[in-house]
């Protein structure tokens, strides 16, 4: 069954090298099911990002996931072998903040119910441009002043069914104009808390009602018993009383409606879930879907972090000021730049960001300190201070995607460690997009989303020759095309 699906997908793939795989029989790599599909990459160099580099290196891929990385690995007889011995293989790059191919319009206010991925029509976007530059995943970001919506991660190629990696990567919060954005966020947090309080109040009322009901029932029973004239036995307990709130026997959590359908009625679970005996399941009142991501954060569900966009150092202080009562919220910062002439005053807050070991996304650019000709390698300084730095192209143009590697090379020349530069577009980018468990490194059980390069990734001469997504080659450079 699974095989057949794969076969069908292959038909859609852009791939030209894919060879029909034969289920492996001789298994070298341990506990593998019989119907697994193996692909083996032999490369001149494998940059795992997470650890060692192997030169030459080998990657054994089973069912689209990396099974083994190293040198001289064994693999099943029937595995497809991709010979890339003159090439370098690294994890696919991830674009953490993009609107590529999407219309850009402003959605002011609080729109936590919006998901950027809902805007994406796959056929309308030239993913080839991203593949060509070595990006295997992009994180689509909703734009707008205030809290514009939830970003989602998409693969740039491969089977359509496997394109969506994550629906809710982060909640984008604009803080580039704190004069208004601070108020937006402050009020949104307040409103989210009000929603929580609203549900809590409803629950308390419901419980109180239940209690009253139970007591009434009890009384009735007692009266009935009395009426029946039977003296109650001392061991007989009265009817089971409803659980007291302090005991919290699995308080029915308000299950948030899927933000995908914001207008959806609150889920009425009670009737579905049986227990017809106890139909008085608590039905929480509907919460404002636009504030749900914030409500989750306040309720300590930290799946979707905040992605706070800044323009200058001062914005960081303002963001921290609003979030002062919410220190524990997970957050990612985007350090954009508004000042002219590539001037950046983030130097003022680099130390503070470093002390927090913040996860920071920056454009891969050398800046100048304001009003000087002193170059400032923001990525390097942040790394030195203790931050995890991810880099995202400065703007969404194919040329800029192409330039990312050479810009990274500039950063390395300016003092950023090579390993950090590579991580900034792979491992750290995956972390910023909340997909570090699947993407960003070449490790066991990570997706086999790989980029093949003709040389070192930081050498501007080297080109992306092939791109693999989910164990299949989805892009191959055609001669003459560049």
């Amino acid at each position: 069954m699974r095989m057949r699906m794969r076969m069908r997908q292959r038909g859609f793939a852009v791939c030209a090298v894919c060879i029909v795989a034969v289920p492996a029989t001789g298994i070298a790599a341990g506990q593998v099911g019989n119907d697994e599909k193996f692909v083996v990459v032999r490369a001149g160099r494998v940059i795992t990002v997470s650890g060692e580099e192997y030169a030459p290196g080998m990657i054994v891929i089973a069912d689209g996931k990396v099974r083994l990385v190293g040198q001289n690995l064994e693999y099943p007889d029937g595995a497809t072998v991709i010979d890339a011995r003159g090439q370098t293989v690294m994890p696919g790059m991830i674009h953490v903040r993009t609107r590529f191919g999407l219309p850009s319009y402003n959605r002011p206010g609080v729109r936590g119910d919006l998901k950027a991925l809902d805007e994406v029509v796959l056929s309308q976007i030239e993913f080839e441009e991203l593949l060509e530059a070595g990006f295997t995943a992009v994180c689509y970001t909703p734009f707008g002043d205030g809290i514009a919506g939830v970003a989602g991660v998409l693969r740039t190629g491969g089977a359509e069914s496997a394109r969506r990696v994550k629906d809710a990567a982060y909640l984008r919060v604009d803080m580039t104009d704190p004069a208004s954005d601070k108020g937006t966020l402050r009020n949104a947090l307040k409103k989210a808390q009000e929603e929580i309080d609203k549900v809590e109040k409803a629950r308390q009322e419901w419980e109180k009602k239940q209690k009253e009901k139970a007591e009434a029932e009890k009384k009735q029973q007692e009266e009935q018993q009395k009426k029946e004239g039977e003296e109650p036995k001392p061991g007989d307990k009265p009817a089971p009383s409803p659980p007291k709130p302090e005991e919290k026997p699995q308080p029915p959590k308000p299950s948030p409606p899927k933000p995908g359908d914001p207008g959806a009625a609150p889920p009425v679970e009670a009737p579905k879930e049986g227990e017809k005996k106890e139909p008085e399941q608590f039905v929480p009142p509907a919460m404002d879907p636009a504030h749900l991501p914030l409500i989750d954060l306040i309720q300590k569900k930290y799946d979707v972090p905040l992605f706070i966009e800044l323009d200058q150092a001062s914005d960081y202080l303002h963001a921290e000021d609003v979030l002062k009562p919410h220190k524990e919220f997970p957050r990612v910062y985007w350090l954009g730049a508004r000042l002219p002439n590539r001037a950046s005053d983030y130097d003022y807050v680099v130390k503070a960001l470093g002390e927090k070991k913040a996860l920071v996304v920056v454009p891969p650019a050398i800046y100048y300190l304001p009003l000087t000709v002193e170059q400032y390698n923001l990525a390097a300084e942040l790394t030195k201070a203790g931050c995890k730095v991810a880099c995202a192209p400065w703007w969404d143009a194919p040329l800029e995607f192409d330039r990312v590697r050479s810009r990274l090379a500039d950063l390395v020349r300016g003092g950023l460690a090579r390993a950090d530069a590579l991580k900034s577009v792979t491992a750290h980018a995956a972390e910023a997009a909340g997909v570090a468990d699947r993407l960003g490194t070449i490790e066991k059980d990570r997706d086999a989303d790989l980029v093949f390069l003709s040389g070192d990734p930081l050498d501007p001469r080297s080109e992306v020759t092939q791109v693999m997504i989910g164990g299949e080659i989805v892009y191959e450079r055609k001669d003459g095309r560049r």
Partner: protein, 480 residues
């Protein structure tokens, strides 16, 4: 000031430790309305809790389950400087100890706690942070604590001029470089009124509004009297008091003062009449003909914000004295008009023509001295008197126990043209350090007049053989 207090402040050696701690430097009662009393250190809630009504934190959800941390005491001390308290004389070599952002003790023998951050100002002059009655370009947004770029060049330049507090828009706010905490001092301390003779319509509307409110207040008073005996007394309707009228009511109740832009004598007369008729406090801004009618202004209790340098030539069509006078501030002061000083430009500019805006705030006070105002009074005009007109003199404007730890520490007499600000302290935090900021660090570092100039940046194509020339021989010095 009483003789006793004078003695205490004179810095004589017997002042030490405990004695100095006891010296409460609270002097003259503030003339203008006090906003709701703020908690004081030592007994009140912690300093870190933002002040009263305008605190943004109040809007935030409070978490009851969070453990309340015991207040952490943070000490900051400025020692060794020549302290110009402004409100109570000078103390040479005194230590100012600040606790949680407020001045805790002043004196020569004050013991500095071990963990205190100490600023050694030996040989420097310590003034209270300067207060600009009005400024633009230092803060941003309608709420400065939300919209301000706290790393802006403008703010750095203003701090380099010694300014720590100013009114931006309708908010009195601090220049908290590098911090957004404790920025707001007071919101809407003044109501802006248009009472110019050039707009008779506006004048009529204002009087109507005030008359109506006066009538309302009378009714309220009558109701209060009547309701003591009569239970059926009807409370006068006050739902209509919104917007402008609400502000005017505050004015009549004396909660705030009015700010009127008035320059010429007849506009100033009108302001006086308004003050007399409704018993409101008025601050006139401009007032270049104030010197021609200072006694009248004094009689009506009108205060003035003046620019001593203003130059308006005399109008020969009038028999009475007209035009501006360099003696304006001095004459107003002599007649007892409380006077704050502002330069012609209310921002900082970077286009190079200097001395006319807040970059050289102190120089405007010096011009007032040129016109005959005593030096101490001129300094008050850019510190405590400006703070008083803004109704924030309980927090800023002088160096007194209990006040905010805002200092402007200079390398000389504040009103001398060569004086540079060495440090500016805001909320017991060094917000500007001349030798750490690049802007002025090359100008007389440590007072060295012959320090070499910084190297120039030359585009690479011009080569490096344009070496700096040798310095000229030592020059004869004059003046100082």
């Amino acid at each position: 000031m009483s003789a006793r207090k004078q003695r205490l402040l004179s810095g004589s050696p017997w002042i030490s430790g405990v004695a100095a701690l006891g010296v409460a430097l609270l002097t003259a009662a503030p003339a203008f309305s006090q906003p709701p009393p703020r908690p004081r250190p030592g007994g009140g809630p912690p300093r870190s809790a933002p002040p009263a009504s305008n605190a943004p934190a109040e809007n935030e959800p409070k978490k009851d389950d969070e453990p309340v941390e015991p207040e952490k005491e943070v000490f900051f001390a400025v020692k060794g400087g020549i302290v110009h308290t402004v409100s109570g004389g000078d103390l040479s070599g005194a230590t100012i100890l600040c606790r949680n952002g407020r001045i805790h003790a002043i004196g020569t023998g004050v013991e500095i706690p071990k963990d205190a951050e100490v600023l050694d100002a030996t040989g420097y002059h310590v003034y209270p942070g300067l207060v600009a009655f009005r400024a633009t370009g230092f803060h941003g947004g309608s709420d400065p604590s939300d919209g301000t770029d706290v790393y802006s060049l403008n703010m750095a330049l203003a701090l380099a001029a010694g300014i720590t507090t100013c009114m931006s828009g309708d908010t009195v706010a601090k220049l908290t470089f590098g911090s957004v905490e404790d920025m707001i001092v007071r919101k809407e301390p003044l109501v802006n009124l248009n009472y110019s003779t050039r707009s008779p319509d506006a004048r009529r509307r204002l009087r109507e509004s005030l008359d109506k409110l006066v009538d309302h207040l009378r009714k309220v008073e009558a109701y209060e009297r009547e309701s003591a005996t009569n239970k059926n007394a009807v409370k006068p309707d006050d739902k209509w008091i919104r917007g402008e009228a609400e502000k005017h009511l505050k004015l009549l109740k004396g909660e705030v003062a009015a700010e009127i832009s008035a320059d010429r004598a007849h506009d100033l007369y009108q302001a006086c009449e308004l003050a007399d008729r409704y018993g409101i406090r008025i601050v006139v801004r401009g007032a270049y003909e104030g010197w021609t009618m200072a006694p009248r202004l004094a009689r009506s209790g009108v205060s003035a914000v003046v620019t001593p340098r203003t130059r308006v030539d005399l109008d020969e069509r009038h028999v009475r004295p007209t035009g501006s006078s360099i003696e304006n501030a001095a004459i107003l002061h002599n007649y007892g008009v409380r006077t704050a000083i502002l330069p012609p430009g209310l921002s900082v500019s970077t286009w190079g023509v200097v001395g006319e805006d807040l970059t050289h705030f102190n120089m405007e006070a010096a011009f007032a001295v040129r016109g005959g105002l005593p030096q101490e009074e001129a300094i008050r005009g850019i510190t405590i008197d400006a703070a008083r007109l803004l109704g924030v003199d309980h927090r800023v404007g002088s160096i007194e126990i209990g006040k905010d730890a805002d200092f402007c520490i200079t390398d000389g007499d504040l009103l001398h043209y060569m004086t540079l600000v060495r440090w500016t302290v805001v909320n017991a935090r060094v917000a500007y350090d001349k030798q750490k900021d690049t802007l002025f660090d090359h100008i007389r570092p440590d007072g060295d007049r012959n320090a070499p100039p910084p190297n120039d940046y030359w585009p690479r194509r011009l080569g490096s053989d344009w070496e700096g020339p040798p310095l000229p021989e030592k020059q004869p010095q004059a003046g100082r």
